[in-house]
């Protein structure tokens, strides 16, 4: 085994060990669990209700899906990570971890992995429930769907790490998370459509909107405006939102890298 592969398998083992512990902690924290599982399921419950009334349009389904993905990124990923990373920092856990064999990136990856995993697992669950109970189509372009969710999850991970720098403790996260959540919500198609023209033109460049666009393309095979796009066509619609997500991700990662603090402020 070369040194490089040994190092890589070491990284996987270390991140997995931290992620396992973090999953246990998530299971024991009712508030975080509620954010990660119950809130994202509310739009789905709404769909089931509408379905029972017998009039589920593609438009209603798309709206519910985007709401669920928004809830996953904002609560299961962004808010939960903000809250747990701040808690680990204040408990001096991050400091202690840095005195071990893990690299900084491995410590953060291990902490973030369960939240990102939950987001992906919930989407997978929704695909199953959607096709079994709601008569939704199977994702028309799963690649775009997965890339969109993953890019969104990583972007909101970076935003969470940035927000920790202005968050004193996990209770304060309720307030410090507001700016990012508000700005992200402006990018929700449902909200953006009701805004003045000037603000609406901004929406596609906010962090949440392009994720919605990719997810809708990948799943429903339509743009957010309801124009249908086949498998090949969906890629031509995808590059612009894809670039926006990538831009947010790179920017977020760079800012987080320079400002992230590992220890409480004294």
């Amino acid at each position: 085994m070369s040194i490089a592969t040994r190092a890589r398998s070491g990284t996987v083992a270390r991140v997995a060990s931290l992620a396992r512990a973090e999953t246990t902690l998530l299971r024991r924290n009712k508030l975080l669990l509620f954010n990660a599982v119950v809130i994202p399921l509310l739009p789905v419950a709404l769909l089931l209700f509408v379905r029972a009334e017998g009039e589920l349009t593609d438009e209603a389904a798309t709206t519910a899906l985007t709401l669920m993905i928004a809830a996953l990124l904002l609560f299961a990923v962004y808010y939960n990570l903000l809250s747990s990373v701040v808690a680990r920092r204040e408990e001096l856990v991050l400091k202690r971890m840095r005195a071990g064999e893990c690299s900084d990136a491995e410590i953060l990856a291990g902490t973030a992995l369960p939240a990102i995993g939950i987001a992906l697992a919930m989407v997978a669950l929704m695909i199953l429930v959607g096709s079994a109970a709601l008569g939704l189509p199977a994702p028309s372009n799963p690649v775009l769907l997965v890339l969109g969710i993953l890019g969104g999850a990583l972007t909101f991970t970076a935003l969470a790490l940035i927000t920790t720098t202005v968050t004193r403790n996990s209770e304060a996260a309720q307030i410090t998370s507001m700016p990012v959540i508000m700005i992200a919500v402006l990018g929700l198609p449902l909200v953006a459509d009701g805004l003045p023209e000037q603000v609406r033109q901004l929406a596609p460049y906010l962090p949440l909107h392009p994720v919605m666009e990719l997810a809708t393309l990948g799943w429903m095979g339509t743009t957010l405006h309801g124009d249908s796009a086949g498998f090949a066509e969906s890629f031509t619609h995808a590059w612009e939102p894809g670039l926006v997500i990538l831009g947010w991700l790179v920017l977020g990662a760079l800012v987080a890298r320079s400002y992230f603090r590992w220890e409480p402020r004294r």
């Binding site: 931290l18 396992r20 902690l25 001096l92």
Partner: protein, 319 residues
Amino acid sequence: MNAATAGTPAITVDALRRSYGGRRGFEAVRGIDFRVDHGEVLAVLGTNGAGKTSAMEVVEGVAAPTSGRVRVLGYDPWADRAAARPRMGIMLQSGGFPSDLTVVETARMWAGTLSEPRPVAEGLEMVNLQQRAGTPVKQLSGGERRRLDLALSLLGNPEVLLLDEPTTGLDPESRRNTWRLISRLRAAGTAIVLTMHYLHEAEELADRIAILHCGAIVRSGSVAEIVAEHPSRITFATPPVAIPELAGSTVHTSATTTTVHTADLQGTLTELLSWAAERGIRLESLRASTASLESAFLAVAGEEHAASAHDTTHERSLS
């Protein structure tokens, strides 16, 4: 220990400096040197704020030096963290664990990040925490948390062990256990650096001691060497007649007490007592004592105190 490391010190520190807050900021470590061999225990003593933790953090590789050179097993612990860490065990002065994990879950998490971990049960047993394996960290006492921290620092079978106040907050029995553990590790060839407040602990555990004061090592060596540098002391109630010159000693006389400092306690005492016997003088409240690590430490802390107060004023006027 392998052939490559035998004979070379496990830790070398040369001209280490560490400042906070830029060039004009506070200099916590002001140029220290030391080395620690395999199978040797160095105790770093100092008053609060002497710079013990600031220096330890650089040796641990959790902080970068401002200047100077640190090598642990031949590696720069800050720049070559990935290479050095698998062979180091570190216990921070203040480190924490997630409060909702149990003791054994915490140890498993840590073991999962190590290259060659010991069995978790063995690690917990070393610090007598096996009975508390299923207890959440938040229900542990302060001393139990310290022991858990120590267990984790030992889980990777380290060749170099850096313990920042390992016994603070421990009850007497746990403290004894920790001492025995440290002695055992030393016998197995581990290089160990400890910081501590308790002098008798350092005397018991350490091969060598470094006394840190205001960021500098002001005394170092074995306990005997440090003590030898400090004079013995004779005190008695000042008699109504003047004290004669005593060879090789200094005499301070106040209205009530006379203090004699001497390098040769037996010689000076003989001279003093012969003089008193000849004159028929009774020396009330007579006490004679050789220097102890404690008196040496207190003397150092006291003698540097004036200097540090002066330094502080000086720094303030600069900024």
